[in-house]
Symmetry: C2
Subunit: 402 residues, 2 copies
């Protein structure tokens, strides 16, 4: 099997260039073109303060088909009023003209600083230049990928292949996000941006059905700082170029599983690249009384700065975890609960369990930590990915100046 990259699914070409929006000389404009109008689904931030490209994107995705994507980093085009809306539309017009497709079939995306209008001259030149240099190689994948990054320290890529009716279908995805990550996408959220491609043949209606469950189990289940961005967006495009139709319910289920796997890998990569992160922490809450209880408890633990700092210090401070579960206003009975860290039970039914703090502390030094809270009171479970909180998290966010 050849190494997969973002543009491995057929039916898409992409490119990226540096247009001068970012002060650092790294790509800041990306364009992706579909070979034909392509079934697509997108989920956007549910923040009531949403950026201009979100407003425009919601309209453009309504038709269920897209011809292309145009994105920039370095400027979020958020809190920019009517001028911002005009600019987001203009991005689509420029890209549409270059790709020879209606502007309403182009989905715009922006990420970066809030409250500044886009430098449209630079952006126009960047879009045109990127559109003139589209391709399908791994270099093109990288050029497009780089154009969506901001404070990320690395690229994030995931892929899956499955055989349907004897033929191979490919799903790939890239995403960005390191801070202001607490997506609660409703068929959209961070500035998490996630772009997913597949060459499967699947209708827009079917895409919508499989996309949100995958998003909920992945992007909506990662939190760095619980701060939902104004620009969060996840998009899935299905070119159909493999000629493989995803039709029967078992095919849909297998496609859905593969899609979820790709999205979860990307979500974990976001957690691992969280600002200042030295490790990922997966919070598994099981046997919660209700779905809402399990999710609320998982979020309270994942977002507690006390828990995140303890994780950074390899401190098996289970009191912080159990008290976080108790404070969030949903059913939780410590006398029924069991907590384990890296598989070692540290708390059982209202009491400390006997464990060796030194050993557990060593286990917490791993790159991937698993916190498992068994509520012992129901059938609901919820998993979240987060990271530890380091001194560097503070310095990054105290020194990132407006």
């Amino acid at each position: 099997m050849k190494a997969l990259h973002f543009l491995s699914p057929r039916g898409f070409r992409a490119g990226g260039v540096y247009s001068g929006i970012k002060s650092r000389r790294v790509n800041d404009v990306g364009v992706l073109a579909c070979d034909a109008p392509t079934p697509a689904v997108a989920a956007f931030t549910t923040n009531k303060v949403f950026a201009a490209p979100i407003a425009v994107g919601r309209k453009h995705i309504a038709g269920g088909k897209l011809c292309g994507l145009v994105i920039n980093s370095g400027n979020a085009n958020a809190c920019t009023g009517q001028q911002g809306l005009n600019d987001a539309q203009e991005m689509c017009r420029i890209a549409g003209a270059a790709l020879r497709c209606p502007p309403a079939r182009v989905l715009p995306g922006s990420t970066g600083i809030i409250g500044h209008t886009l430098p449209m001259e630079k952006l126009r030149r960047g879009i045109v230049e990127a559109a003139m240099n589209l391709g399908t190689t791994s270099e093109h994948s990288t050029a497009f990928n780089d154009a969506i990054l901001t404070t990320d320290t690395r690229r994030k890529f995931a892929a899956a292949q499955l055989k349907l009716g004897g033929k191979v279908v490919t799903i790939t995805g890239i995403c960005k996000g390191a801070g202001m990550i607490g997506p609660r996408l409703a068929l959209p959220q961070a500035t998490m941006l996630a772009y997913l491609l597949t060459d499967a043949s699947i209708s827009s209606a079917q895409l919508r059905r499989v996309f949100m469950p995958a998003v909920n189990k992945s992007f909506n289940a990662v939190t760095i700082d619980d701060h939902m961005s104004t620009n969060d967006t996840a998009v899935l495009l299905a070119s159909g170029a493999s000629g493989v139709k995803v039709g029967s319910s078992s095919e849909v289920r297998r496609f859905s599983d593969a899609l979820t796997e790709v999205c979860q890998s990307l979500a974990e990569q976001i957690a691992a690249d969280g600002e200042g992160a030295t490790k990922t922490v997966r919070i598994d809450v099981i046997r919660g009384k209700t779905d809402r209880a399990a999710e609320t408890i998982a979020r309270a633990i994942a977002n507690s700065p006390l828990v995140k700092c303890a994780m950074h210090g390899n401190d098996p401070n289970w009191g912080r975890i159990v008290s976080a579960a108790g404070m969030c206003g949903v059913p939780f009975d410590p006398d029924r609960a069991t907590l384990s860290l890296q598989g070692v039970e540290v708390f059982r039914k209202g009491r400390p369990a006997a464990f060796d703090p030194e050993t557990v502390s060593e286990l917490l030094g791993a790159k991937q930590v698993i916190v498992r809270l068994d509520c012992g009171s129901g059938k609901s479970s919820h998993t979240l990915w987060t990271c530890d909180m380091s001194e560097e998290y503070v310095s990054i966010n105290a020194d990132y100046h407006t």
Copy 2:
């Protein structure tokens, strides 16, 4: 006017000693005695994981009168099962015997590490010794005060006096709390501990009516890390020793105002002594659509690590504040909202306001920062006190080892 101290209101004697619970040689056991059974009200943590002294305290306060307080620091007696309950009751028995009053009229309190049973022999000696050395001087106030501190870097004290019917009534308060501070007390919460005394004559029923509004506008309006503790407690004792009856509705209102002022001063002192804090930040949300919207928005801003880090860096990063307001699921329309930092408008009706970042950054360097968000959409307001987040916050909480 003589300088006031915690025991200035007549009718109370207190003391504090070092019993060996803390590793550092500072007071860790305190006893307060009322000269007679005294009307009292207490509010406790609403965390579902609550400590043994909370369980016992809820029962003992039910009678509406107390004869004394017994408290220890260095050990929270939380997640300690039946043994913990026995120990909390035993604390009251020992104190009751020493003070010659029923154990059920003693309110216990503990703060410190979670998940360890109390060292009862040390504690017994400490309680007896403290009870043998009770007094009313400022030295006695300090000895008792020191016994409730943990990671606090300073004592917190506030007082108010008012004249009712020509006579002076005194209200004083002390409190502790530096981390795990996000109280939502319901006639109890942190390990915020707050002890309030007055020599006014006021019934238990009347005390209950004035106490919760004061607690809601003060202790429940301070957040360091949004982490509700297992042990948070606030208590108010009214000895009546001044001979001044708080009876008429105007007297109750004036007493209530003075009490609120004392509680708010203590709450601000908690924020100022937040772990790693270099400044306090007051969040004023005004003209919110509903009370719930105003409070939820204020909490989202106050608890955002991105906002707290920006405050630490003197960064007028209003995008983080406005997006926090938009993400919390309550009505908020950025096109109606105005945000000012230290009195300088930085965002107005969906758009950045023209301001000089250098000037505002300088203003944010103050010890007290005021963030004011006018939602422009209703009549509800909410104020919260918090602090900035520094690298030191992380190191304190990553290195505080279990």
